[in-house]
Amino acid sequence: MKLLYFAWLREKVGMADEQVPLPAGVTTVAGLLDWLDGRGGGHAAALKDRSAVRVAVNQEYVGPDAAVADGDEVALFPPVTGG
């Protein structure tokens, strides 16, 4: 699956995107965030305050219970500030 990071999440993670295989046992957004958090370092720092993280799967906003599958594009970012 493709992971994308934006704004300060990108800065904390230390990269704009990465390709990872679907981690074993991960079926939802919440599960994916737990797994990323478990990788420690920049990922853990970026996910420290989970309430500040928004997620889009295949470019659609989703909640923590949404399903993720291999091949998905999953984007993590802070609340938007455009307009």
């Binding site: 994308l4 934006f6 704004a7 300060w8 990108r10 889009a56 470019q59 906003y61 594009e73 984007a75 970012f77 802070p78 609340p79 938007v80 500030t81 455009g82 307009g83």
Partner: protein, 158 residues
């Protein structure tokens, strides 16, 4: 009926003329132009960088515009949002709505701006004397957008 995401500036007069042309007999046109401010609170801003999620922004803007079209009787509309490095006084965003009913045009424009601020995947980073910092989302913007969840469209005569 038209959204664009672009680094280059837009020409409000040209866009207004195009909406007017497309809007046919619309009696009222409402325009919102968002401009880079020169202050963030009490700190002067030297520049601002707008990051966005290219795959998702146009899609989300189209969805927001379609929602406005569903809710209000719009003859024409336009949404343009810039990204990249901008300076105080530069244009950021343009929303135009045309309708036979002026209140519909006003409400739809406000709805579009509120939704842009809370749904469109853009992030602002301001450069100030104390270095660059990411702008934090405002609860007031969520409140503004939440107004539209329950409110039915109104269509008084223009």
């Amino acid at each position: 009926m038209s959204v664009r995401v672009q680094a280059e500036d837009f020409d409000v007069a040209a866009e207004l003329a195009a909406v007017r042309e497309a809007g046919g007999g619309a009696g009222g046109i409402v325009t919102f132009t968002g401009i880079v401010r020169d202050m963030a609170g009490d700190r002067p801003i030297s520049s601002m960088t707008l990051e966005h999620y290219p795959g998702m922004t146009v899609r989300e803007l189209e969805r927001i515009e379609a929602e406005a079209q569903d809710r209000w009787p719009l003859a024409a509309s336009r949404v343009i949002h810039r990204y990249g490095k901008l300076f105080p006084g530069d244009n950021i965003v343009l929303v135009i709505t045309a309708s036979a009913h002026r209140q519909a045009a006003f409400e739809a424009a406000e709805f579009l701006v509120d939704w842009l601020k809370t749904r469109a995947p853009f992030w602002k980073q301001e450069a100030t004397g104390s270095g660059p910092h990411w702008v934090e989302a405002k609860a007031s913007d969520d409140d503004a957008a939440a107004r539209w969840a329950a409110s039915p469209p109104v269509a008084r005569s223009a």
